[in-house]
């Protein structure tokens, strides 16, 4: 069915991104220079990382609104650890950030799994709790650039084959999770649990436990992003990445992830993120006030969700068509 593949979400979105780039390039050719595109990708890397986690959560019919707060809290924790122990090597910091983020994800996951509390309530609650906790930890103070150790700040900017490690981490995450989603039992369980929870139970899949793992993964990725964000911008404070969870959900919706669960790909989530990333990078270039950003991403969410709904509309049982084929 070549027509089906041509009309697939990913191809449409790639086309939209190409069109967007072409329009920008027609007036500002420098925007599509490889170095600039690499910059855009690097800027979008945090969004990609978070969108992968969010996509997995949404696949299982949940939502994680606490990702940005998790990012900020984990970022603050590793920042303070760095200040207290400047000698701690970066790999240890990374392990701590992933572990701490996963722990915060576990809190969400347990509440959803063991107590069956609606995910939107759980993550609205933990979102405010995480933010508040940052304040309690930091006493409302900022951790500033000069307080960090050099290696702490340098890691995401270190270049490898012409790309910063930040970008490489995003690429690695895309590849890793593409593999996890398509080739592991857990990956397929995410699709099954969200696509048809009732049937998943019959197939021996524990839906609640699957949701728990989704939140844990989302939390781990948010934690990792927390370190990368804090080290790249060399600052940590209470409102870091405030409201960013909406961009993450937006990237997923634009990337074709169905909010009702069961449909979505890692590649789609990445493309959705890139779409938003290109817009936010292009606005200053084409001389539009950055204040337009919020309205544009809002509009993009609405258009994307309309397109998603059109693509996934229930086609009915098609009794007559079968009759025609039979005769």
């Amino acid at each position: 069915m070549p027509k089906n593949i041509l009309m697939s979400r990913e191809v449409l979105l790639t086309g939209a991104i190409a069109l967007l780039l072409a329009i920008i390039a027609s007036r500002f050719p420098a925007f599509i220079a490889p170095t600039n595109l690499a910059n855009v990708f690097n800027d979008t890397a945090p969004l990609i990382l978070l969108a992968i986690g969010q996509m997995i959560v949404i696949l299982t019919r949940c939502i994680d609104l606490s990702v940005a707060a998790n990012l900020a809290l984990t970022g603050m924790v590793v920042a303070m650890i760095n200040v207290a122990m400047p000698g701690l090597p970066v790999p240890v910091i990374i392990v701590i950030s992933i572990g701490f983020g996963a722990l915060l994800g576990v809190i969400n996951g347990v509440l959803v799994w063991k107590l069956a509390i609606p995910p939107i309530v759980v993550t609205l609650g933990t979102m405010t709790i995480f933010r508040g906790t940052i304040f309690l930890l930091s006493d409302g103070k900022w951790v500033n650039s000069h307080e960090f150790s050099d290696s702490f700040k340098a890691f995401p900017r270190t270049e490898f084959l012409g790309l910063p490690l930040m970008s490489w981490i995003a690429i690695a995450a895309v590849l890793l999770f593409t593999l996890v989603m398509s080739r592991t039992t857990l990956g397929r369980a995410f699709y099954a649990a969200g696509g048809n929870p009732h049937a998943a139970t019959y197939a021996g899949i524990d839906v609640g436990k699957t949701q728990f793992w989704a939140f844990t993964i989302s939390g781990a990725l948010a934690g990792l992003t927390g370190y990368l964000w804090v080290s790249r911008f060399a600052v940590a404070f209470v409102d870091l990445a405030g409201g960013f969870e909406l961009n993450v959900v937006a990237a997923c919706v634009i990337g074709g992830v169905a909010i009702m669960g069961g449909i979505g790909t890692v590649f789609g989530a990445m493309l959705g993120s890139l779409f938003l990333g290109i817009i936010s990078n292009a606005l200053p270039v084409v001389n539009i006030s950055p204040f337009w950003q919020l309205a544009i991403s809002g509009g993009a969410i609405i258009i994307a969700v309309i397109l998603n709904a059109q693509a996934n509309r229930d086609k009915g049982r098609i009794i007559l068509k079968r009759a025609e084929q039979a005769t």
Partner: protein
Amino acid sequence: MLMQPDQTHDLPKVETGPPILALNRVTKTFPGVTALSEVSLELFPGKVTALVGENGAGKSTVVKILTGIYQPDGGEIEIDGTPCRFPTAQAAGDAGVTAIHQETVLFDELSVAENIFLGHAPRGRFGLIDTAEMIEKARAILVGIGAQIEPRTKLKDLGIANKHLVAIARALSIDARVVIMDEPTAALSQKEIEELYVLVEELKDQGKAILFISHKFDEIFRIADNYTVFRDGALVGTGSIADVSEAELVKMMVGRDVSQIFPNRAHNIGDEILVVEGYEHPTEFADIGFTLHRGQILGFYGLVGAGRSEFMQSIFGITRPSSGVLRIDGKQVDIRSPADAVANGIVYVPEDRGKQGAITALPIFQNVTLPSLGRTSRNGFLQLAEEFKLARDFTERLDLRAASLDTDVGNLSGGNQQKVVIAKWLATQPKVIILDEPTKGIDIGSKAAVHEFMAELAAQGLAVIMVSSEIPEIMGMSDRVIVMREGRIAAELSADTMTPETLVRHAAGI
């Protein structure tokens, strides 16, 4: 008055060695209901055991216990004489028990191969799923059951019958010793059913024990070796199929002789009330037209998926027909929503009671008055006393059994829920009532009550449309029958010309 079966059936005389799987005095209770009370069941290698019983007899509960979805409250499951437990569906699969479920429990967004192997896919390097091998194995199983399905297709692109074959393939992908088939032929065509019988024979030859659940007696007598009958959650009989007649099985199932279930009806047909002409829908049905009179019961017969419910729902305003004219009392009306239909005196008792019929979390009286609030209220403000009065009037006419009118509908039995739904519509004083599989899944007593009530309604001049897949019900209740096949009218039969054979022939198109 219920009659107890006059003979007690002994537990099976063991003929072919010990059973692979046995249930010993298993009990399962839900809040307020005992679904199974101390039932026993034995499955032998190389034998097909038919599990027979009315809806609600406890058959599905047994399936769920055997597949690890439910845990028994008492009694035990034995495999090869050793007691064991199935805490999860996975555990049942590991113990060699697999099931083809009644509802298709599959995943639209996954491929056919993934549907077959979800949870037990072949693994390759690093514990990753070996996609190539999975597709090959899936293809082999599909070929083995005569299904021409490409394993890489997404499930959502398959038709209903093919989805069912995938479900069968999934059950066979587990190397099972016990295969449970819960109404496996319900969605299949005659040709596919024949192929399934061949498959059952093959499984028998491989020494597997098969539990076969079916409502179709011809099927049971054709392929089963043993039978076990449940009634109201209890075991009432078991033995070899060769030693029993169809009439005896039926008697065990219903607990009484089934000579005269259907009420005698006076046929006083009145004026024309509903005329439908040229109803079309782009995908579901085409060219439907008929006339209905007051006092008439018009049956709609057809196979599952013939488009009967889809058509009824378009008369009721759920789906819009692409063309067609509907006249009620000689006046052409445009029905765009159920609210329009109700306003024009057309009401619909849907097949899916829990989802479409009743609002189970609301109390009885609120369900009954929901479409009639305009009459029980004053200027849009609720009048509870009026509501209780209306609800009492109509539920008592239907002989509803409930603790109070304040009870949530979800706490009632299936039969009583159906009575609430019917009461709800009668309270609107309709002209035409459409009943979609009105007695599906309700106990035999409520069934008779619903039939009697239908006859009474018709006698009072209401026009009744009854969609049913049960031939006795169609034959026993209808003045006329329209047979639908693949979205079109295949035949229209009068009471004199309908026989079970003509109905089946037109419905199946043979």
